[in-house]
């Protein structure tokens, strides 16, 4: 070899085999430059929220008259906003009831649509039947129906269902109207869930399904034994979002929840008072309702660590 300087492309190629790919990648991607960019993005994304966090610990008068950054030059710290929110402010009813309502509303409103959507996505992806594509397109297109459009027709169905079914809304609704909430959230979640999960399902190599079919497995077996385990990261990802949407939903709750099952969002809005006089409470309220979703996100994060199909098939 001549002593000409190796080109840039050759240098890593010469040294690469010595290092496992993952660490090399780590080296490349966590270079200082990359970290700096990530840090800037993270900062820009976090500062507004950080400001709210600071505000939530400041007395009402300060919040309304000076910026939150004054907290560092002229600190005055109070837990009053949190006390007000947790004790229900001037309403006298504690927020705990509404927290329980939110949990009770959210759990089925996440589990049910995701299960249904996983089943439907499987059928759209791997069962052959006539009119499959047309149906799928229709489901996909229905994502765009704005929720507001559906509220009145749905409410009318709940109040006065056809065929003498049991009404789900109104004063004698079963479980205080919980069923209409679960049903509504399920309906609104399905099109997007089916669309997203279907796209992940399509990425599963066909040979995997084919070989299982050859071995005599039926759709149910393939679905439960192969698909669901493979889909776990995607299901977890969508689960998080559905959880957040239901948890933070205000519109559906306002329309369908009766006072005895009203979730935290409804309560927080009413805490602010009829004319928004206590809006400083929204800051602490936002963090009270943020705590649980954040824990859920961190808990489910481990599902994203493994590759979607890592270890199942070698591409």
């Amino acid at each position: 070899m001549s002593t000409s300087t190796p080109t840039a492309a050759q240098v890593p190629a010469d040294t690469a085999p010595a290092i496992p790919a993952s660490t090399a990648a780590k080296k490349q991607l966590t270079s200082r430059w990359a970290s700096a960019v990530a840090l800037i993005v993270a900062l820009v994304w976090t500062i507004p929220t950080f400001g709210l966090l600071i505000s939530s610990f400041r007395p009402e008068e300060d919040v309304k008259s000076s910026g939150w950054w004054n907290f560092f030059t002229d600190p005055s710290f109070t837990l009053q906003n949190y006390k007000d929110v947790l004790s229900g402010g001037s309403t006298g009813e504690s927020l705990t009831t509404n927290l329980i309502n939110t949990i009770v509303i959210t759990v089925p409103a996440v589990l049910i649509p995701i299960s249904l959507a996983t089943l439907a996505a499987y059928a759209f992806a791997w069962i052959d039947f006539k009119g499959r594509d047309t149906l799928f397109v229709a489901v996909f297109a229905l994502q765009i129906v704005p929720i507001q459009v559906t509220l009145v027709p749905l409410l009318q169905l709940y109040v006065d269902p056809p065929f003498n079914l049991m009404p789900l809304a109104g004063r004698d609704a079963p479980a205080g109207g919980l069923y209409e909430l679960w049903l509504s959230h399920t309906i609104f979640a399905l099109p997007l869930a089916i669309f997203l999960l279907h796209n992940f399902m399509r990425e599963v190599p066909g040979e995997l399904i084919e070989s299982a079919r050859v071995d005599g497995a039926g759709h149910v077996a393939i679905f439960t034994k192969i698909m669901v385990p493979l889909m776990m990261p995607a299901i977890a990802a969508f689960g998080i979002f559905q959880f957040l949407w239901v948890w933070n939903d205000l519109l559906v709750a306002l329309v369908f929840s009766s006072p005895q099952v009203s979730p935290m969002t409804v309560k927080l809005v009413s805490l602010v008072g009829q004319r928004g006089e206590d809006w400083q409470l929204l800051a602490s309220g936002a963090f009270v309702s943020l705590a649980i979703p954040l824990v859920v996100f961190l808990a489910l994060q481990r599902y994203f660590v493994r590759g979607l199909l890592a270890g199942s098939v070698k591409g």
Partner: protein
């Protein structure tokens, strides 16, 4: 209702649901004939399709029907295509359409780019989990909370008074005149779009990050052995591999953007030329009580999505062909 009663109902609902689903699956499990396939497809799809039909298709039909009727809340008169002509001949509506276009063009692309770049940058970093949680945070905050957060960012007071808005405080520290961010069109629309980007980037990052992790290890390794640099790796390996996911994310955010009304509602109430179609729809329906016109706007939103649907179908066809 007591707490235990609520949890009891919750358990009943969940158990009932899984019980019924399990029964259906067990019953259809054994069918292997041509007809059996159909029955199985029906078992898998039936519940979802029934719910979507009742909860979305039927209201969508009602909406289209309503768009040919007048403004009265009860018993509106039939007006034919008047609402449609009103919508497209009103000068203010043209501004609304223009703003909607800005939203739809900017939000999905910028959110996706930020989400993607961030996902790649923090991938396999030691602080990955924490870094992702930071970008994810805005997704987890309710709209009510977000509106207060951004009030503290954009709030305006004249130069000499104490600022409570962060951006104007920064401006006055720099010795620049304070600026009323939400007042001057067309820039105010862009400041509102930033809020949605701030929310949606976390969604893009989460989905794309899951996709990046699915890129087979040996593909990356082979590329590395060929001496690919990080930029080429990103362009020739990462992006092509996650292309389907990118389309999904772009599509989802686009549709979400078309439906977003609460940002405009809380920040400007649609004043100062910031209104978008979804907000006009909401306003006509729930504030001004004009069912006919609001239904018409909903139909227009629906029509705007058609190209997106068509594009997605084409992409899917391409995948099938692979």
């Amino acid at each position: 209702m007591t707490t235990s009663e609520k949890f009891f109902h919750m358990a009943i609902a969940v158990l009932l649901f899984y019980g019924v689903m399990a029964a259906i699956l067990l019953l259809t499990q054994r069918l292997r004939s041509r007809n059996g396939e159909r029955v199985q497809a029906a078992a898998f799809l039936g519940p979802s399709l029934a719910l979507i039909g009742i909860g979305l298709l039927y209201p969508a039909g009602v909406t289209i029907y309503q768009s040919f009727f007048g403004a009265a809340v009860f018993d509106p008169p039939f007006v034919g295509f008047d609402n449609y002509t009103a919508l497209f001949t009103n000068s203010q509506q043209l501004t609304v359409l223009r703003n909607t276009l800005f939203w739809v063009l900017l939000t999905p692309t910028i959110s996706t780019i930020i989400g993607l770049v961030y996902a790649v940058l923090v991938d396999r970093a030691s602080f990955e989990k924490f870094a992702k949680a930071l970008l994810f945070l805005p997704m987890a905050i309710s709209m009510v909370g977000a509106s207060i957060i951004w009030k503290f960012v954009y709030d305006y007071k004249s130069g000499e008074s104490t600022q409570i808005g962060l951006l104007n405080q920064i401006l006055s520290w720099l010795g620049i005149d304070t600026y009323n961010f939400l007042l001057e069109p067309p820039w105010n629309t862009f400041f509102l779009i930033i809020i949605l980007i701030w929310i949606q980037a976390g969604f893009a990052m989460t989905i794309l990050s899951a996709s990046i992790k699915a890129i087979p290890e040996d593909m990356v390794e082979a590329a590395r052995l060929d001496g690919t640099g990080p930029w080429q790796m990103f362009r020739h390996i990462t992006v092509p591999s996650i292309r389907p996911s990118l389309i999904v994310v772009l599509t989802t955010i686009t549709i979400a953007t078309l439906k977003v009304f609460d940002i405009v509602q809380t920040a400007t109430g649609g004043n100062f030329d910031t209104s978008v179609l979804a907000y006009e729809f909401y306003r006509q329906s729930f504030v001004a009580g004009n069912q006919g016109l609001s239904a018409t706007i909903a139909v227009v939103i629906f029509i705007l999505v058609v190209p997106i649907v068509i594009y997605n179908i084409r992409q899917m066809r391409k995948l099938e062909a692979r």
